[in-house]
């Protein structure tokens, strides 16, 4: 089990979760933040503070957001600096 950051964070990156995480397992990419499942201790402190409600336990993710489990993992697997392609390709909100 782990917690996962999802679409609601894209281009918002509020960062409230960063102050909560006791093990600093949340890292910013270019357009969203990601949770490192290898470091996360499953405490859940990040979930209620997200104003976007973008964070959820993996087992509770709705079907359309389940791909973000892989997206969070891919960010760390590729060096934790650039957004995975599916995030980079998300259309930007205009205005």
């Amino acid at each position: 089990m782990t917690y996962v950051i999802t679409a609601g964070c894209i281009d918002v990156m509020d960062r409230s979760c960063l102050e909560q995480c006791p093990v600093d397992c949340i890292k910013p990419g270019e357009r969203m933040l990601y949770i490192d499942a290898e470091v996360c201790i499953d405490c859940g402190a990040c979930e209620p503070v997200c104003p976007q409600e973008a964070i959820a336990m993996d087992a509770m993710l709705p079907e359309e957001l389940r791909s973000y489990i892989g997206t969070n993992a891919a960010f760390f697997a590729s060096g934790a600096s650039t957004d995975p392609p599916e995030v980079a390709a998300t259309p930007r909100h205009l205005g």
């Binding site: 909560q20 996360c40 402190a45 990040c46 409600e53 336990m57």
Partner: protein, 429 residues
């Protein structure tokens, strides 16, 4: 500047970490236990292995050369708050909340009627506890609507055999397995919309050989419940899970968790132990009786504020963590027993920012020598960080004998012997 932090649990350590972000700060961390990490070691359930790994992050802070750990030193017993304040530039109190709230009903003091504050440290291998689990029957009652009630229920249903991959002491496993618990009656005062269980902890029951039994008639949702479920997705998730269990019914698992909503205990009955718990249905007023061989109440904790400090509702009075210039609180002593481990980090950071504001405005004068000399002269057997690393290594070695990452040492004298530098030096002579 020298700051004393009382309590080496998550809140005390998060406060210490924040203190170390300024150059020139040294921290003395005191704990009444011989060992660091507070409730991570003696409160978090043994099978929550991933949560317990937060101790790795806490260790990094306490091992810093600017930190001195003093284990086995209790505020008020070994050193007074006045002494600590005089010897330190500032004091941060993070002593937590360790006393169980009580139901206040007849029979609560019977043998085999336990509080979470007794039972949780026992199954976590706390050395100072005289408590020992015992039940007269495989059916027991657990009273409460929060995660501690779920922890206790799960540990009792898993038993020692189900916890073999944890740091559970063998002595605890043997006691749990002497009379296996097959049925836990979870007694909840209010309805499904009011419970505090975290969805993650509820989901764990799906992975055990346990039937979760919920009477659909007790899941009646009022308008207030529906409104809360709309506003708060945790409420919606909890309702969805209990509804799913109510619809699923039993599948013939080996053990059972019977969920009783809208029930308040009115009496714990028995001869020289526990034979039954009486419950009042809070909707109808009807009284019923469940046959159980033990009762555990997990209805919250009281913070024990150090004597002489102003309190409100049992908590030390403070403003964003500041009790007075030079004296601060963090964690459960500050907020009450709520939140998850990470909640304490933001809480501790707020308190230390109040401390910085007092330093910057010169409300605190800096230049104290720290309490270490007094502690060492008064308590030569106090455990320093090196002493803890000896205990740590011994526990890891003990675990390795049975293929586990760690097995806790529960013998107080053994912990004290391993931890005390002075005692070891004497033995070497």
């Amino acid at each position: 500047m020298r700051v004393a932090v009382v309590g080496a649990g998550p809140s005390g350590v998060f406060a210490t970490a924040e203190l170390l972000t300024r150059p020139g700060v040294e921290v003395d961390v005191l704990d009444r236990s011989h060992t660091p990490f507070g409730l991570v070691r003696y409160g978090v359930a043994p099978d929550h292995l991933k949560i317990k790994t937060v101790s790795t992050a806490l260790s990094r802070v306490l091992a810093d050369e600017r930190v001195r750990f003093h284990g086995g030193v209790e505020l008020g017993r070994d050193i007074s708050l006045d002494e600590l304040r005089r010897l330190s530039d500032a004091v941060v109190l993070a002593t937590g909340a360790r006393d169980s709230r009580r139901l206040g009903i007849p029979g609560e003091d019977r043998p085999r009627s336990f509080t979470a504050a007794d039972l949780v440290p026992w199954y976590n291998g706390h050395p100072l506890d005289g408590v020992r689990w015992s039940t007269a029957s495989p059916s027991v009652a657990v009273v409460g609507a929060g995660n501690v009630a779920l922890d206790v229920s799960r540990i009792l249903l898993k038993g020692g055999a189900g916890l073999a991959n944890t740091d559970l002491p063998d002595s605890v496993a043997a006691v749990l397995d002497a009379r296996p618990v097959t049925d836990v009656h979870l007694v909840i005062r209010r309805g499904v919309g009011d419970v505090r269980f975290s969805p993650a902890e509820l989901l764990e029951f799906d992975h055990l050989d346990v039937d979760v039994l919920v009477d659909p008639a007790e899941l009646d949702l009022g308008p207030a419940d529906r409104a809360r479920a709309t506003d708060d997705r945790l409420v919606a998730q909890r309702i969805a899970m209990f509804t799913r269990w109510a619809e699923a019914g039993p599948v013939g698992a080996g053990r059972r968790l019977h969920v009783h909503f809208h029930r308040s205990p009115t009496e714990i009955r028995g001869g020289d132990g526990v034979e039954a718990i009486r419950l009042r249905d809070n909707r109808s007023g009807r009284i019923e009786e469940l046959s159980v061989g033990a009762v555990v109440t997990a209805i919250g904790y009281h913070a024990a504020a150090p004597a002489g400090l102003p309190t409100t509702g049992g908590l030390v009075r403070h403003d964003a963590g500041r009790v007075a210039p030079g004296l601060y609180v963090a964690g459960w002593l500050k907020r009450g027993p709520s939140g998850v481990i990470g909640t304490n980090k933001a809480c501790a950071v707020e308190s230390v920012r109040a401390l910085w504001a007092d330093v910057d405005s010169a409300a605190i004068t800096v230049g104290a020598g720290g309490p270490a000399d007094l502690v060492r002269s008064r308590l030569p057997e106090a455990v320093d960080w090196t002493g803890w690393t000896r205990i740590d290594a011994a526990e890891i070695a003990l675990g390795a004998t049975t293929g586990r990452a760690r097995t806790k040492i529960t013998n107080h004298a053994e912990l004290a012997r391993l931890g005390a530098a002075a005692v070891l030096a004497e033995e070497a002579r």
